[in-house]
Subunit: 475 residues, 2 copies
Amino acid sequence: MAKKDDFVTKIADIETDFPQWYTDVVIKTKLVDYGPVKGTMVIRPYGYAIWENIQREMDARFKAAGVENAYFPLLIPMSFMTKEAEHVEGFAPEVAVVTHAGGGKLDEPLVVRPTSETIIGHMYGKWVESWRDLPLRENQWCNVMRWEKTTRPFLRTSEFLWQEGHSVYASAEEAESETLSMLALYEAFAKDVLCMPVLCGRKTEKEKFAGAVATYGMEAMMHDGKSLQSGTTHYMGQNFAKAFGVQFTDKDGALKYGYTMSYGVSTRLIGAIIMTHGDSRGLVLPPPVAPFEVVIVPIAMKKEGVVEACHALKSTLENAGIRVKLDDTDNSPGWKFNEWEMKGVPLRIELGPRDIEAGTMTVFTRDNCEKGELPLGDAGAVWAALKAMCTRMYDRASERMRQRIVNAASLEELLTGVNGGNFVRAGWCGDRACEDRVKEFAQATARVMDKTNTAAMCVCCGKEAKHTVFFARAY
Amino acid sequence: MAKKDDFVTKIADIETDFPQWYTDVVIKTKLVDYGPVKGTMVIRPYGYAIWENIQREMDARFKAAGVENAYFPLLIPMSFMTKEAEHVEGFAPEVAVVTHAGGGKLDEPLVVRPTSETIIGHMYGKWVESWRDLPLRENQWCNVMRWEKTTRPFLRTSEFLWQEGHSVYASAEEAESETLSMLALYEAFAKDVLCMPVLCGRKTEKEKFAGAVATYGMEAMMHDGKSLQSGTTHYMGQNFAKAFGVQFTDKDGALKYGYTMSYGVSTRLIGAIIMTHGDSRGLVLPPPVAPFEVVIVPIAMKKEGVVEACHALKSTLENAGIRVKLDDTDNSPGWKFNEWEMKGVPLRIELGPRDIEAGTMTVFTRDNCEKGELPLGDAGAVWAALKAMCTRMYDRASERMRQRIVNAASLEELLTGVNGGNFVRAGWCGDRACEDRVKEFAQATARVMDKTNTAAMCVCCGKEAKHTVFFARAY
């Protein structure tokens, strides 16, 4: 039997060594493991269950918005990549290429999809004929591959899982509108399902998607004050429609190019959850995506009626739609407490002879590590506790973000800001040279631009500010 | 507006040109389209919705059986493939290989997974230490790639979607037992969810999975009497455990190799459904997996109250958990009838002023193409009609299979049997030479062996029969 504090001592300190804390947590809680090929990851059942919950919740929102799921091929002819000039420039350096198959060399090398604008553009070009075929709005849940030099589980890996939605509209206005409405869908999802506040806005030219007219991102603030890009939407104008012949006969009889947009989130969201909510004991999982919302730990398990009462409680909660784990292994309660705290189960219920006699159950809420008591078997009270936890988690993360957004009027102030683990709001003239200079001086990048410009001067050159930008160090 | 019989005339005759009927149906109902790379397919929303329903139903059964989902990397080091001698021999000719990535040549070529025994074996070797870690039972839903020369949508494509479950047990008995219990799970799924009878049994040495000790298959009889392998389970013994070092310390302190098994079904099941149930009008979809179980077609749509009544009916049925499409487009009812019949929607409800006045709805059941009447808005009656349809579809397919299994005592009888679109039950001595001779003589292969041997003589050499085999032509 393991000792009580085996786990706690194994995780690096979150305040002094956050990168090591992250690695310890993802490996020791069995969310993920390293694959045999450098830069790849194996998503283990405890991690994959989180992804399944993310998928289920987000897929329902897509379907409610009228998007349909489909599946497009993994392999893309190399020639497709070169049809959109910016796109190939952006992605060519990181693609994996199939050159041989079926025992021979291929006539044309095939790219393992890094994203699917090109192949979906090609199919849309085949399918779209008339204005009656528009809009066309499909999404796929799949794997993609981008060969990265520096990798970390969930945050940046050669292969990852994601969804990519692709729409084509008859007008620029409609396509632009969905670019914003999908960003809003992501933002609401982050709040409702991940209990995670985000900053949403338009990206600079430097940071936009290769081939897009405009990219919008949602950025989340991690425990260390760094930013994690957690979802993006892209307005493509007619760039891909022209490259792939996505044309339709409009109501007026004229042949026109469509306007396309795309949007995606990935398994990176699991990294976002970990680094937004985690604490010194390990994971703190948002109830809506936790593999189990409740773990039941029997106390004095050998005493008559305890295990039976735990099973009965499990059934009661499951019948109310709650995901429950009953830990009736031989380990001591203290060992189980540590294990499930590290694994971030939102609510722990301890049930022993005294609780049963009193008709109560002892509950431990993971986010604030507080103990309380609820009426035994009261599923409504458990739901309420989980809901309250969601609110607390969101509020806590929001308060941190609020406190850690600072303004800067000079590069020095900007540097001090990001050194202190803050997002820095500052004016920007709009010149790429100033953006590059900020990166060089402060190792910070423009995450998103604020919706309105409230700054007078560029933080770098002092000329008139055209945008107010949130600068930060980023994963 | 399209003409009433546009669709019907576009599908080849199912009796005289079944291959063309299949191609017409899958393309014209928009289940699938051809991808730009030869042998690849795009699964379109109407086809993907079927796959989502299959996934949901089967995944629930896996979870109820205690299997957990995970995700393993797409790319497998070439060296892994060669660790199990039979495995590499079987799969090497059909793999796709990544040789370049991130702008350079890789030190070791990487195989796009054709199946994941090797990489999962590697990870299990890392994770399994003690008997306490066993059994380990994980499954993944993913894409796989096998470079095929002759391809057909859903039946055989370079890339397809599937699930692959992989278990490791401490004993041979347990691993063998799951090999049979997963086969039973597939058989029950085929019956309950696809309304499809199957023949289950052990495969011959020639037909087994590369690297397995024993393979079991479920075979379904298609409209033309040919067989479609629709799912397989494999008992690996210690072959992969030894190749990848899956060892555990047993209760007695000794270090032992585990016993592994695997099982899989793929998007091929969609092909099985199409060719089992389809008829001259097109698809006939089993209600449990149909994208919509019900399509509502308004009659005299411009008349007051009709569209409103259709929307109300849709809500009523959806609230009862039924998937419903309301076709309120401008097309004529006749055009809609043809379209949705071709697309195989199980139940059509026609609702017009007369029905509304009489408090009834006209229903058309796709499998038998019969019309009837039900009380307007009676969701219970709709459920009952769908359930009855499942029974009829299963019974009809079972009756066909019963009639089309014939016995043969000679190669000539076997040839006559398969020429007549039958499965042929015949004795076999167990020699590979006789199995090869049957293939040469009758273009038929051993699909599965019967559970017990009831034949006296080998259909080929006349020697004593060791097995009774179901021979058939196969997709």
